[in-house]
């Protein structure tokens, strides 16, 4: 990690000497924990970089988008809208809907980071990736929010986020620079779809979640003809409504039994 090493983060977060060792080892553990997601993240970033240039953005604009926005699914969803010259509010609304999952992630992360200052919580939030959140949840899931290991948690999460950021940005830059030379015949964009599948499967925990996902899938396909990716919004609204309805139906069935 030559760019985002522990010294760099020390400069950002401050560090009493005695705690330094525990922090850097937690950071390194976080970087290592990201390993299973490196290929998925890199492939997704490459595809996004290529798509951004092919949609007509200048490479400099594409680099700025990747560096600042740092949200693959929102970028991919907004690119066709940008190419079609859609109004700015609609582009931002679509990206917000696609990004809605991160709002839930932020609610899930808050108990672990409530001791940090607002600016540090904002930074950790901004750096949260799908895989970073997923891997942190797998490691922390079910355990109480013990204040004793909160420093370890913060630095582990920073390690995950740093690895994610580096994997994403490096492959995104590569995709932008090599956009004209990456053959589409490889089916690289399908790797991005597979990466999303690995995220959705762990979310299928109970019947309401499964019903919601099924309904959202059907609506997304049926509404695909709608302009400007409105199908995603329609699918999420229908899916969530179906999931809640399933939950209520189960509760009523349970009350009768």
């Amino acid at each position: 990690m030559p760019i985002l090493d522990s010294h760099r983060f020390t400069a950002l977060f401050g560090q009493p000497a005695a705690l330094g060792r525990a922090r850097s080892s937690a950071f390194v553990a976080g970087v290592r924990a990201f390993a299973p997601a490196v290929i998925a993240t890199g492939a997704w970033a490459l595809v996004t970089g290529v798509a951004t240039v092919r949609m007509g953005l200048h490479p400099v604009q594409a680099l700025a988008m990747s560096a600042f926005v740092y949200a693959g699914s929102a970028q991919l969803a907004s690119l066709p809208l940008i190419a079609a010259g859609a109004p700015v509010w609609l582009i931002l609304l679509t990206a917000s809907i696609v990004n809605l999952r991160f709002v839930i992630f932020s609610a899930g992360l808050y108990p672990y980071f409530r001791h940090l200052s607002l600016s540090r919580r904002l930074l950790l939030g901004y750096l949260t990736s799908d895989f970073g959140f997923l891997l942190a949840s797998l490691r922390w899931g079910g355990r109480p929010h013990d204040s004793a290991d909160r420093t370890e948690r913060t630095w582990f999460f920073l390690g995950l986020s740093a690895a994610s950021w580096l994997a994403w940005q490096s492959m995104s830059v590569l995709g932008i620079l090599l956009a004209d030379r990456v053959p589409t015949a490889w089916g690289m964009e399908f790797v991005g779809v597979l990466a999303l599948i690995t995220l959705v499967v762990p979310a299928l925990t109970d019947a309401p979640a499964v019903v919601g996902v099924l309904v959202a899938s059907v609506v997304a396909v049926l509404a695909n003809g709608l302009p400007l990716k409105l199908s995603v919004l329609a699918a999420v609204l229908a899916g969530v409504a179906a999931a809640i309805a399933t939950e209520l139906a189960r509760e009523r069935a349970g009350a009768r039994a």
């Binding site: 700015v88 839930i104 919580r121 939030g125 790797v191 597979l194 995603v232 999931a243």
Partner: protein, 107 residues
């Protein structure tokens, strides 16, 4: 889209990333979510992901390809199955990609 408009879009998208990813990290305990909202939000990520994935598996040139002769659908189902059984992202992606490339060459 003009350079200026694109600059506004990139700035706006950056703000969207920051706000969506930090919302409850920033608000914390000040905004306790109503139970009904929380319940709904719990299902939204899966639905949003499905809305992004499924059309890419079953639609080709805007037409429905709901058959086993569709390599994307087969490969997607295989990835779901492998992920379900192994809970290993890498295994799911490698088997899904291998199935996709193989079936695309064969079918």
């Amino acid at each position: 889209m003009s350079g200026l408009a694109l600059g506004v879009v990139i700035a706006g998208l950056t703000l969207v990333t920051l706000v969506s990813r930090s919302l409850f990290l920033a608000l914390g305990d000040r905004v306790p979510l109503p139970a009904r909202v929380q319940r709904g939000l719990r299902y939204a990520p899966g639905c949003a992901l499905a809305a992004l994935i499924v059309p890419q598996l079953v639609l080709a040139d805007q037409t429905l390809q709901l058959t086993l002769a569709n390599p994307r659908l087969d490969a997607g189902l295989i990835a779901v199955l492998v992920m379900r059984i192994s809970r290993n992202m890498l295994a799911a992606m490698v088997s899904g990609m291998a199935a996709f490339l193989l079936l695309r060459a064969l079918l």
